[in-house]
């Protein structure tokens, strides 16, 4: 075998192996390829309408357990990630990461101020659904479920979704990062009446 042929064979073999291995796992590398760790922008106020806009830009995007980074191309760029692996780096938030970003909270749990995170900023925040349900953190308080209005939240021990609109049949439209098979979207839910859910509210809305 000539040295030239050895070089070409080795080059081709490793190129194919590396490319196939990495590209084959592309759907689990959304964060690595697209997201950033930029500092959030402190803001002096937030409105429910503004938070609705943040949430609507995440609509139709993906879901990632422990995630919090998405674009707004209206498709899940990381479909079918394994549901039991928090480290796949796929697109989207999970339910509590989505709520954290939509409510524009700081990482410091004793700080109730407002921080605008970019869509492509990868951040989950310090709260689980159960922590939100308990009203943990200075920005969050529990609230009577019957008093909840747009962009307040309904949280159980394992899930949280935001009230988007009331329906005439008494259900709510909830905007939520639901799960890998669902992505992030708006669905009709009956969480308000369910005793496994409690009401949670972001403090300081203008």
């Amino acid at each position: 075998m000539t040295t030239r042929r050895v070089f070409a064979t080795a080059f081709a073999a490793v190129f194919v192996l590396v490319f196939a291995g990495t590209a084959g796992g592309y759907h689990t590398r959304f964060v690595a390829l697209n997201c950033n760790y930029a500092s959030p922008t402190p803001t002096s106020y937030i409105t429910r309408d503004g938070s609705a806009a943040v949430a609507l830009r995440a609509r139709h995007e993906g879901y990632q357990w422990a995630g919090g980074c998405w674009n707004d191309n209206d498709k899940d760029d990381s479909p079918n990630d394994p549901t039991t692996d928090a480290g796949t780096g796929g697109e989207g938030g999970d339910c509590s990461g989505f709520t954290f970003k939509v409510w524009r909270e700081p990482l410091n749990t004793s700080d109730p101020s407002f921080h605008q995170w970019g869509m492509l900023r990868s951040v989950h925040g310090p709260y689980t659904a159960a922590a939100f349900k308990a009203g943990a953190g200075a920005p969050n308080v529990t609230a009577s479920k019957s008093s909840l209005i747009k962009m307040d939240a309904l949280a159980s021990e394992s899930h949280i979704g935001l009230v988007y609109a009331a329906n005439p049949d008494g259900t709510d439209q909830i905007i939520e990062a639901k799960g890998e098979a669902y992505g992030t979207g708006i669905w009709t839910r009956t969480h308000r009446g369910s005793s496994s859910y409690g009401g949670v509210r972001r403090v300081g809305w203008s």
Binding site: T2, T3, R4, V6, F7, A10, F11, A13, V14, F15, V16, L17, V18, F19, A23, R29, L33, N34, I46, D49, G50, S51, A52, A53, L56, R57, N71, D74, K75, T83, Q116, G118, M119, K145, S146, K150, S158, H159, Y164, A165, N167, P168, D169, G170, T171, Q173, G179, A181, G183, G185, W187, T188, R189, T190, G193, S194, S195, S196, G198, G199
Partner: protein
């Protein structure tokens, strides 16, 4: 020196070739990834309108229509940046050839809420029809609500002489015990078990919904395991039918011919969810894409299945003249009320702790009720005609407990009321918990151990 038949020089070339190949692959991937990242469009404009339709108006209600127009300008990520919206409501009396245009006004500059006051001469009419068109130049989008506009406007009926029913303050914990259990299955992935989507470590989601077929068979949709379980009347062992659903929360309705209509609530590839029809062997006969992205419930109507679709809040047919309906055909036949197999049309409208209910025949209210409660009211799970009575199942809740009230109404008021436990350990289709067949009420329940269906008699002594 030789390495497995290669000279030192050839081995060196091999190693260098491998390194070069690896570096080239990484560089190629980086370039491709960068191109993908840069091809992701800048922030898109957003315009989404919510409106809770005034399906049943009390004379004391404000004569206003309210819309929330959520807007974010194209190319601007700051969610608090200005995004201007404008629009009009178009209103007419049913039968009138033309709509009157009423400009929507912003309640507060920079906020999403828009309002329009209804003309005094129309507010006093028994019914009016309306739709809204809202535009944002900043978001480069226009939204019509309901989606078909003039072809299928919202119909708002005035409740002039409803029968009043006061439920008072509810005492939790006095729910009726189980009538009769007619079906049950454990959680699991076995052939006669029912699956939880992601096992027991996540938010439990399973046993989406159920229906009662002709002859009294109970059919439960196990969406997680993509199958139906069917219990024939009196049988403890179900029959199993695999179905090719997409594995997320879904609702089911069984047709008179024995076929199953499954309404999925999620979809991929920027399409709306599907209604899939299966025969009794589980073969998929057809799939119909819903007209809107947020379908909530499927029930059989007099001419086939009807789907409650959002954001229009309209019941739309899946079939027109027996064949699958296009999205435009669904939209243009949408109605705020649901046509009943027992005849007429039912309209439900919950306003805080009050439920308004009307039976329409020929488009006009023939009977109506206003049900008030001192304890918060949740969703209306069921509203069906039963002879000269109406059966309504609605949730009553506070911050610690919830139960379902089963109310039977007649032209004089409340004929009977019963409370049943919510029995909702796992999440399923939002409005898939109750069904009526004959004079029996069926309830789908879940517990940490499994799924069950109970049957209650609705006979009134």
């Amino acid at each position: 020196m030789r390495y497995r038949g290669l000279t030192r020089s050839a081995a060196t070339y091999g190693i260098v070739g491998s390194l070069a190949g690896g570096l080239a692959a990484v560089a190629t991937i980086s370039i491709v990834a960068s191109a993908i990242a840069q091809s992701t469009p800048a922030t898109r404009g957003v315009l989404d309108v919510t409106h809770s339709p005034a399906l049943l108006r009390a004379p004391s209600d404000p004569a206003q229509l309210v819309y929330d127009a959520h807007c974010a300008a194209t190319g601007v990520e700051d969610p608090e940046a200005p995004c201007h919206v404008a629009g009009s409501v178009f209103v007419r009396e049913p039968g009138s050839p033309t709509f009157r245009e009423i400009p929507l006004e912003q309640v507060e500059v920079g906020r999403a809420r828009l309002e329009a006051s209804l003309p005094g001469d129309l507010v006093t009419r028994p019914a009016l029809e309306y739709f809204a068109v809202i535009t944002s130049q900043d978001a480069r989008a226009t939204v019509t609500v309901p989606a078909a506009g003039a072809a299928a406007p919202t119909v708002s009926h005035r409740l002039d002489r409803p029968v009043s029913v006061a439920l008072g303050r509810h005492r939790f914990g006095e729910a009726q015990r189980v009538g009769e259990q007619v079906a049950s299955a454990h959680w699991g992935d076995g052939p006669y078990e029912i699956g939880l989507e992601e096992g027991r470590t996540s938010n439990p989601i399973g046993a989406s919904s159920f229906d009662v077929a002709a002859g009294g068979s109970v059919v439960v949709l196990d969406h997680a395991n993509r199958k139906l379980l069917r219990w024939s009347r009196g049988s403890r062992q179900p029959e199993r039918t695999p179905v090719s659903v997409n594995g997320t929360i879904a609702d089911i309705a069984v047709a008179q011919d024995g076929s199953y209509y499954v309404l999925e609530t999620t979809s991929r590839d920027d399409r709306n969810p599907l209604v899939r029809r299966f025969d009794d062997a589980g073969r998929e006969l057809e799939a119909v894409e819903t007209a809107e992205g947020g379908p909530a419930q499927i029930l059989m109507g007099p001419d086939g299945p009807l789907v409650l679709q959002r954001p229009s809040h309209h019941w739309m047919p899946v079939l027109v003249a027996g064949v699958p309906a296009s999205q435009a055909a669904q939209r243009s036949r949408g109605r705020g009320g649901r046509r009943l197999q027992a005849g007429g049309e039912v309209v439900v409208h919950r306003v805080w702790n009050e439920l308004r209910l009307a039976l329409l025949v020929g488009g006009s209210i023939t009977r109506s009720w206003r049900i008030t409660s001192e304890t918060p009211l949740g969703e209306v799970q069921l509203a069906e005609r039963l002879g000269d009575r109406f059966v309504v199942v609605l949730r009553i809740y506070d911050d610690h407990a919830d139960e379902f009230a089963v109310l039977q109404l007649d032209r004089h008021g409340l004929r009977s009321r019963t409370y049943v436990a919510s029995a909702e350990w796992a999440e399923g289709a939002p409005l898939g918990r109750f069904r009526v067949a004959g004079t029996q009420l069926y309830r789908l329940g879940t517990s940490p151990s499994g799924v069950f269906v109970d049957r209650f008699s609705l006979e009134v002594r």
